[in-house]
Symmetry: C2
Subunit: 277 residues, 2 copies
């Protein structure tokens, strides 16, 4: 099953997406839906919902108000090794805010105050049940599904200090969506190809089987210090090929199209434009 959060006459709504229709549900977003409905009961909702053609669906951020967004750095084995680093013993974690998220077709604003807006294609994990002090097996059972995140990063701000938050939490900077795809459809995202393209040129290509810490590992680890709740989002890290690591460095420019694709999860397509003053 595929869930989405779509723009609606009054705000946003969770929806079930089929091949060519969208069934709009009476929940404000996928996070609210997951907080109130057991995963096993999701398919029962479909029959009661008004159905519209899929082309009419404007994708809002998949999650509009997650209590926690946790991102992982340095998590693709081949990229770590090619950089000459050792594999980490613990995941590197940092946060974003709900205000950072945009929808899968929204324009990406390039802030007037940054010269170094970079891409980071990532597998996103959405929590479906409260989880605390979990084993990886318990953690896997608490995952509602998978999505696409581009952890767009303002490198000049990210590296002003030792802590990356200010380069990672710009308002309206992080595409997420278009769908939450349930684990059964993608074998828990064990081996999906992910790609990032800029104006059709492939900049990143990796496979989720190359993750050092897989989704269940990360959820279990985080659950060791706090509770993850339905609708919380984890971005699992990015493979090699970011603009800041290229020679010469390359960053996003107004008018370019940023495309983030994961097999089986759809794509985010976001046109870059200058921030309005």
């Amino acid at each position: 099953m595929r869930l989405a959060t779509v723009r609606h006459t009054s705000g946003t709504r969770a929806a079930i997406v089929d091949d060519d229709t969208v069934a709009v549900l009476p929940y404000g977003d996928v996070g609210a839906l997951l907080s109130e409905v057991e995963p096993g009961d999701l398919s029962g909702l479909r029959g009661e919902a008004p159905v519209t053609p899929v082309a009419e669906a404007g994708f809002a951020p998949l999650l509009t108000a997650p209590g926690k967004i946790i991102c992982v750095g340095l998590n693709y084995r081949s990229h770590i090794l090619e950089m000459g680093r050792e594999l980490p013993a613990h995941p590197t974690l940092f946060a974003k805010f709900a205000d950072s998220l945009i929808g899968a077709r929204d324009d990406l604003e390039l802030p007037a105050t940054s010269e170094q807006v970079d891409w980071e294609a990532e597998l996103g994990v959405v929590i479906g049940a409260p989880v605390r002090r979990a084993t990886p097996e318990q953690a896997r059972a608490a995952i509602a599904g998978y999505t696409i995140v581009n952890d767009v990063s303002m490198r000049d701000w990210q590296w002003r200090t030792t802590q990356w938050l200010q380069g990672k939490a710009f308002e309206r900077s992080t595409p997420v969506g278009p769908y939450l795809v349930t684990p059964d459809e993608v074998d828990h995202a064990r081996d999906l190809e992910l790609r990032c393209e800029v104006d059709g040129v492939t900049m990143q290509r990796g496979r989720t089987s190359d993750l050092v810490f897989d989704p269940a590992d990360i959820v279990a680890y985080v659950s060791g210090f706090t509770t993850l709740r339905p609708g919380d989002l984890i971005a699992t890290g990015t493979p090699g090929g970011v603009g800041a690591a290229r020679d010469p460095k390359v960053f996003l420019q107004p008018g370019q199209v940023l495309r983030t694709v994961i097999d089986g999860l759809g794509e985010c397509v976001n046109e870059c434009r200058e921030e309005k003053a």
Copy 2:
């Protein structure tokens, strides 16, 4: 005026605190109150509210669901210079989650998985109006008031990787409160003494006049990359004297009492106990 969030028969409520009474308001916490009431209209609420003796007030976290908690590192001039570092050009920022917060009299759980639970007494800043791309003057006008935060840090987790989040975001680890004190009562916290005591022994002592980035500077800076909203919380950094910087290092132990005091803002008094399994 002093506002608090108190525990109530059904959940929590915002309240106005006078010398010996508490006027309970129909808002779930101080954050909800600030979202719905203009600062100038706060005093008008007092007359309609049921009043109870102050001793009956159990302090909940001052904010129960802030959208953003942003913490500043390395912000006391004397401490930076005594460490032989240069004064920073930009504030070092990281995040906490709402689940990290506890009330001003709540027990502080020492996690079974950390051996290095440390203190960080800090001035807290609570936002009262939406603020984006603000000058320091505009930022100051958006501050609803000041409070006490102890940014309790699990050093062994904080330093596992370059990013501090996992040592800063343990569930129920961060005392905040007891009050929001409006700016007029403390001259915008320009020169308040703050202290941290463990079992009555003073471990930290500093003055907010020693801040490199003052509250308005920080709010203005953050507003350069995202919107701060009513009820958001900023912890402004800690002076010297933390346990990890002592020789030998000292960390919190079960049964100890952590007391965090800022002149004019009251005190947080939190007894340490072992986490229940």
